[in-house]
């Protein structure tokens, strides 16, 4: 007899979900916010989104070709990075800036540290902060309906009154993908239902943030003020799509809760006491740096440990 069937180590069955499926789900979930942003802000938003995303994928392709590494653009991770970066850009940004950020995200933040799974900071957010520092003027220039002005969050910080209903829908100034809470939540619910993300990080993040601004915001328990903070700026996009990035968040369950609390506190701190009205991006990349430490102190106790022997 000479059958020679395949042999391999057990288990001999595998779940259907792959990494590229997961990334694709994230892209699908981001499309609501993207489409809304394009309709809301018009052609320049669309061009920014397309150019930035395409550049991210191209940068990954070119780098991997040059370095003679296997090309991984089909895993959709570069698409996610490019798209997330684009959604964090003002719609009126000069068309070369987004692509520059995309190259920075993919080459410097992701590939130089070893590619997918190895980056210690969220590439899209690191690139946003890079652009924010380099081109502060352009990156904080917001127009809506032809009127230049402050974002609702900046108005709020200055003590102004904002329309929370507009902020919920997204008819306000802001970056391409952050303005519509409704569009973001549709995507987030989709990811929750598909099991891509769970509530641990975004839940603790938002709850901690609300507690923080209630205590230190100077308005006490003011539903209007709290809603405005939750609907304004990048907190929704950040909490549901960027804080939940697997690579740069803790793998331990308790760690994810600690991480969420860090995010909430830092965001509150930056928004209330920082120089700028916005603080989500910095809070997330700063917390990214704390992840190894958080994981160290939150290692789970193995099953049966604590019994004798």
């Amino acid at each position: 007899m000479n059958e020679n069937y395949n042999i391999s180590s057990s288990p001999h069955i595998r779940d259907k979900v792959t990494s590229s499926n997961i990334m694709l789900f994230v892209v699908i979930a981001l499309l609501q916010a993207t489409i809304f942003g394009v309709f809301n802000f018009g052609m320049s938003a669309l061009i920014n989104v397309v150019l930035t995303t395409a550049t991210a994928v191209l940068a990954e392709y070119v780098y991997e070709k040059l370095m003679k590494k296997p090309v991984t653009i089909r895993d959709f991770s570069a698409v996610v990075t490019g798209l997330l970066l684009a959604l964090n850009l003002p719609p009126t940004l000069p068309y070369w800036m987004g692509p520059l950020g995309a190259v920075f995200a993919i080459i410097v933040v992701k590939q130089l540290f070893g590619g997918l799974g190895q980056n210690f900071m969220n590439p899209a957010l690191a690139a946003r902060c890079f652009l924010l520092i380099s081109f502060t003027g352009k990156m904080t220039y917001f127009v809506y309906d032809g009127v230049t002005g402050a974002t609702p969050l900046a108005e709020l910080k200055a003590g102004g009154v904002v329309n929370t209903m507009d902020m919920l829908i997204g008819n306000v100034r802001g970056t391409i993908g952050e303005t519509s809470v409704i569009a973001i939540m549709i995507g987030a619910i989709f990811l929750l239902l598909m099991g891509v993300i769970d509530l641990r990080i975004p839940g603790t993040y938002l709850v901690t943030f609300v507690i923080f601004i209630t205590i230190f915001g100077g308005h006490g328990i003011d539903a209007q003020y709290i809603t405005a903070h939750l609907c304004g700026g990048g907190i929704m996009l950040g909490a549901w799509f960027m804080a939940t990035d697997y690579v740069t968040s803790p793998i331990t369950k308790t760690g994810q809760i600690v991480y969420g609390i860090c995010l909430g506190v830092l965001t509150g701190l930056f928004r209330l006491f920082g120089g700028s009205a916005e603080g989500v991006s910095y809070a997330i990349i700063f917390s990214n740096l704390l992840v190894p430490l958080i994981e160290r102190i939150t290692l789970p106790k193995p099953f049966g440990k604590g019994g004798e022997k």
Binding site: S8, P11, H12, D75
Partner: protein, 439 residues
Amino acid sequence: MGLLTFKGGIHPDDGKSLAKDQAIVSILPKGDLIYPLSQHIGAPAKPVVQVGDQVLKGQMIAEAGGFVSAPIYASVSGTVKALEPHFNPTGSKVPCLVIENDGEYQETKYAQAKPLAEMTKEEVLNMIGEAGIVGMGGAGFPTRVKLSPKEPEKIDYIIANCAECEPYITADYRRMLEDTEKLVSGMRVVLSLFDNAKGIFGVEDNKKDCIEKLEEAIKDEPRMSVKILQTKYPQGAERQMIYAATKRAINSAMLPADAGCVVDNVETLIGIHTAVVEGKPLMERVVTVSGDAVEKPGNFRVLLGMNQKELVDAAGGFKTPPQKVISGGPMMGFSMFTLDTPITKTSSSILGFLEDEVAKAQTTACINCGRCVEVCPSRIIPSRLADYAERHDEDTFVKQNGLECVECGSCSYVCPAKRPLKQSIGSMRKIALANKKKK
């Protein structure tokens, strides 16, 4: 209602519908019978017959090679043809006794078994040991040793592992339905050894009919109860079973007896019944033949030593040549490169699959998604441990509790990057355990 269970685990497609409703069919071997001398954990058995000897069915052909060992019996009558190496289901060539079947099935005279009530504990234990009973769920640990803990009075639970959480396998399920009385009788025998123990049948809730049958069968047994467990893999892993049934958690350094438990699976308990009540040694077991490549999946009562190819033929053979053939379940079983290998005491099933999912899967980079952490019943971090294992960092591996792994394979199953996590961790574990012994 919260069903009893443990934290972690997975829900793979169970594939049990293929063979679930097929009643157990007895089949007889045609070709030679092959008996590996090592079908259990511990010292290999020592042959007590010579090549050329005539043997009867039920005659001992190899005796226990030590305390942790088990004897082996001829399952047919015939001539001892050879003592030579053969492949066992795990792919190693091991010394085996080969018996040419004369087709007569002449049985030896078994000593008249005494009623259980008249036997001393020592007698019962000896009968179990002499019958060659080992853990038939797959581990193959000699049952006599398991039933002889240092302080038997401290054992308060005997758990019948009726979970059968591996996909596709339905042998225990059929046994529970068709041989309920024997299973309960086996439990009665074990309970007679432990005065302070209660008997628990831990059954997953996907086997409602078994639960009903068992409850009916034990209604006059004050020491026994049925506990309904959530259907989840690896519910039948010893530590997870103990936890679900008793809420006691044990780690890798502990034995079930440390938690006052003894766990035996369905087939083993039936073997105990046969040994002690009927006075016959272990010569047969029930094996499931299933998988999408098998023509007529079913459950078969087979004589140990029978060639697996013959058994597959009895199930109608393969529809199309399979890519992969597995001895045991798809989660923890062994893939076999050939079917020319015998049924042993620990063979619970033969599965034939048209497609090898593992060969198809492409390993990509870990994205730190934490799915492996979510499902790990030992609550360790499989992705990190696999990293340590891959760079051969034994110290960190041990420090990060790599030895706690039960090798259930849930991490490899869920990994979206298709990393062979269990394989890496398992290999490192073997090295670390060997080094630990040396110290």
